[in-house]
């Protein structure tokens, strides 16, 4: 029986370690992991791996330092090292003074790339030393070994991957990057089959028949209870028409047009209408923003700083292509690397990237404050509907105009959750109300992330310090920092206080 090739994978990211485990373990490699440079050196000395996959940036050391330490030790000097990083320029620099580095692997990587580069590393080493362990089982070695390797041994970056450098972490950080391409799992697709895959036409909504939904609906009749109207109904859940992620995306990206997420027209039409102007704005806003500060899902920055506007343009082109395919009835795309991807997945991916771009634009201040959603005061009003100050508070909020305001008039137990979600800058509280509200305010005080919250008590205009319902000591205890009398100009008073508080903050 063949002895397994021992691979030492060094990476501090649990996602990458999991990905490597899932890629390598089934293909006949014995994988051992280290999470730091020190641990890697120790394991290399005692475990004698056939090859080391070394992340360039580790918590305690840089990759070139680890390489140097391994090279200086006779026990580990001959172990070939594959440097893994998203920072191509840095690892090239590291390679110049590290002779034990034989290959490079650029994040994000595909399973095929990982296996190929390990084979290349072990073969190169066995050619020079003739002492390395035998190759892994044949089923793992069926891929061509030169796909991404240049004559000089450096990994040639796929041009498409430059775009992927700003790809945000996938929703499922473990599954998405490690899914092996179809080409790595099955024999090459014959031309008729390939055509069938590409031209596979759904019965209805092309994008909605995403993989996720096609396997998701489970209809346990008699178990599933679905709410209909305001009551439970034992009618089993019927699969609803599924909206494309485009639609979800458009809603999330346009706060003022959130209804887009819930429209019922054909999603592709909505997407085209919404994404075009949006991406154009993004492109314009991101011209001066560069990608180098943006993490890839592998946890490191992009190799080169690229203007965000280019990303937006490329993303726009990608979305347009996906939409065109969707409109033509395709459900899947056969990609250059031989893998097949559903349009739904592509759209979700694009959605995440748009969100990331939007975030960058907001962080860089290149989008209007309204798009960022953070500039306006967020005011949460806690006041019973029957309170004497309720009408005045409502009027004040209405007159204030530029506040994001929400009101809680009953069920005060919701206050902590609502505060946590809404993140108000100010809390306007009916100050004469008793324990029901104050109990929740005490809970709020215990939450670390709500400590900056300014709580303003509002009392009727005729209340004074002698009013027995106005317990200032208690108000102070629950965190109320200011009490305002609800007069006719309550809106002006509140605006003034809130404005000065924000200015002070």
């Amino acid at each position: 029986m063949d002895e397994l090739v021992r691979v030492l994978a060094v990476d501090d990211s649990v996602t990458i370690r999991k990905a490597l485990e899932l890629i390598l373990a089934p293909t006949g490699f014995a994988v051992e992991f280290a999470t730091s440079g020190g641990e890697a050196i120790d394991k290399a000395r005692h475990g004698a791996p056939a090859v080391i996959l070394l992340d360039f940036i580790l918590p305690d050391m840089r990759g070139n330092e680890v390489c140097r330490a391994l090279r200086d030790d006779a026990r580990t000097a001959d172990i070939p090292i594959v440097l893994v990083s998203a920072r191509g320029a840095e690892i090239r620099q590291a390679s110049e003074d590290a002779p034990n580095v034989v290959r490079y692997l650029t994040k994000p990587f595909t399973p095929h790339e990982v296996i190929t580069v390990i084979h290349a590393a072990t073969e190169a080493c066995s050619a020079t030393t003739a002492t390395t362990a035998p190759p892994p089982r044949a089923d793992a070695a069926t891929e061509p070994a030169t796909a991404n390797a240049s004559p000089t041994g450096a990994v040639v970056r796929d041009p498409a991957r430059v775009v992927a450098a700003i790809e945000p972490p996938p929703t499922n950080a473990v599954c998405a990057p490690i899914e092996p391409p179809v080409s790595a799992r099955r024999p090459p697709v014959s031309e008729p089959a390939r055509q069938a895959l590409v031209d596979e036409r759904p019965d209805s909504n092309p994008i909605s028949a995403d993989d996720r939904r096609s396997r998701a609906p489970h209809d346990p009749v008699g178990v599933l209870r679905r709410a209909q109207g305001d009551r439970y109904d034992s009618t089993p859940l019927r699969p609803e028409p599924v909206r494309a992620p485009f639609v979800e995306a458009s809603g999330a990206l346009r706060p003022s047009g959130f209804a887009g997420a819930f429209q019922t027209e054909r999603p592709t039409v909505i997407a085209r209408d919404h994404f075009g102007p949006l991406l154009e704005r993004l492109r314009a806003g991101l011209e001066a923003v560069h990608a180098e500060a943006i993490d890839t899902y592998a946890g490191a920055g992009a190799e080169a700083a690229t203007p965000g506007g280019e990303d937006a343009s490329e993303l726009g082109a990608q979305l347009a292509d996906a939409l065109r395919r969707a409109e033509s009835g395709s459900r899947h795309v056969l990609r250059q690397d031989g893998s097949i991807r559903s349009l739904g997945d592509m759209a979700l991916d694009a959605y995440r990237r748009v969100c990331r771009l939007l975030f960058r634009a907001a962080a860089a201040g290149t989008l209007a404050a309204d798009d960022a959603g953070d500039a306006r005061p967020r005011v949460l009003v806690v006041c019973r509907a029957e309170s004497p100050v309720a009408a005045l508070l409502e009027g004040a909020v209405r007159d204030a105009g530029d506040w994001h305001a929400l009101r809680i008039a009953s069920d005060f137990r919701q206050i902590p959750m609502t505060v946590c979600l809404f993140g108000p800058t100010h809390l306007l509280v009916e100050a004469t109300q008793g324990e029901a509200i104050w109990q929740q305010l005490r809970i709020l005080r215990a939450l670390p992330h709500t400590r900056p919250l300014a709580i303003i008590g509002v009392v009727p205009a005729d209340a004074d310090g002698a009013d027995p319902s106005l317990d200032l000591e208690r108000l102070r205890e629950v965190g109320v920092t200011m009490v305002v009398a609800a007069g006719p100009d309550l809106a002006g008073v509140l605006r003034s206080h809130i404005g000065s508080m924000r200015a002070a903050a």
């Binding site: 609906p217 679905r226 997420a261 959603g373 009101r407 137990r413 609502t418 939450l447």
Partner: protein, 331 residues
């Protein structure tokens, strides 16, 4: 609490509105897989780390990790654990989540063209809000974005759950299959595997009962038990020895309180039992659990009565031992 649909044409999309800690949350129906009342779904635990167990709800071929909104919002420590009335199963990316809820308020046709929603301040990876909040009919409604419910840390933490839960469900299916086989025509290997799987699935009582029966199944059929067990164990041993030798007759049991009972076997299978006024399985279980002074077997060639018990003696004994209090069945 009611959320009234506004008048006019229905232009929005349907969301399911649920209540948690008096706060209202909405989820687009496309992402809702199911809503379970609290007592309906079986809740299982899988050990996720060295000392943490994560509950999950089996749903079809998948496992939905139970994640309370208090946990998602970072309020677990401040508010503590909650007892909820049901579960809302929503898909969040590749994960299926079971959100404990207090109530299912209803389905609402939500048209957000008029009330402007505010993105939540709580954001997820990429700065995307967890949802949007809107005030409707005097209530604050948070429309959750299911794909953004989990932060990266929790998503990573939940990643092994599906695999572990799948293993658990596979074990359950295997246990059920083995049980059916044990009920029909048992052998020692089946019972051994059954006991092991039950033990690994947290069914310690069943595993203990199966192992107790297994002790007697492994004995030589012709020799009396060589271990000194308690009265229950001796009775089980005698019963299984008769079952192995395919005896027909009546095992008369003298109870410590002066009463008695009998277990009728036909070709090694228990077909009936009597203890006081009870008959059948109930009587069998009572005979095994009651203190008794001894038992004697009277052979009989034929059994003319009707069979009240149709399963194998081994399965019957395992089920009876499992239902006994732990003190009564201990070896």
């Amino acid at each position: 609490m009611r959320l009234m649909n506004g008048g006019g044409p229905e232009r929005g999309a349907k969301v399911l509105v649920v209540s948690v800690d008096d706060a209202l949350f909405a989820c687009h129906l496309d992402w809702v897989e199911a809503a379970y009342a609290g007592a309906q779904p079986p809740i299982h635990l899988v050990r996720m780390g060295s000392d943490r167990a994560r509950p999950f709800v089996p749903h079809g071929q998948e496992a939905a990790a139970v994640v309370d909104l208090r946990e998602l919002l970072g309020l677990r420590e401040a508010l503590g654990p909650a007892r909820r009335a049901g579960y809302l199963l929503v898909r969040s990316g590749a994960a299926l989540l079971a959100l404990p809820i207090d109530a299912c308020v209803g389905v609402r046709e939500l048209d957000l063209s008029q009330p402007a929603p505010v993105p939540t301040r709580l954001r997820r990876e990429g700065g995307v809000p967890l949802g949007h909040m809107v005030e409707l009919d005097g209530h604050v409604l948070t429309v959750l974005d299911p794909a953004r419910l989990l932060d990266d840390g929790l998503r990573d933490a939940l990643a092994p759950l599906q695999e572990k839960a799948q293993a658990f469900q596979d074990r359950q299916a295997r246990i059920e299959q083995l049980w059916q086989e044990i009920r029909r025509e048992p052998n020692a290997e089946q019972v051994r595997v059954f006991a092991r799987l039950c033990s690994r699935s947290g069914r310690g009582r069943t595993a203990g009962a199966a192992r107790q029966v297994l002790l007697h199944m492994d004995e030589d059929a012709d020799s009396p038990p060589d271990h000194a067990g308690d009265a229950v164990d001796r009775l089980v041993g005698e019963l299984l020895r008769r079952a192995r030798s395919r005896s027909s007759g009546t095992l008369r049991v003298d109870l410590a309180d002066g009463g008695g009972g009998e277990i009728v076997l036909a070709a090694g299978r228990v077909v009936d039992a009597r203890c006081g006024a009870s008959r059948g399985r109930d009587a069998f279980t009572r005979l095994l659990g009651a203190p008794h002074r001894g038992a004697r077997f009277e052979e009989r060639i034929e059994w003319a009565g009707s069979d009240r018990i149709a399963e194998s003696t081994v399965a019957l004994t395992i089920a009876a031992l499992e239902s006994l209090p732990s003190g009564a069945r201990a070896l």
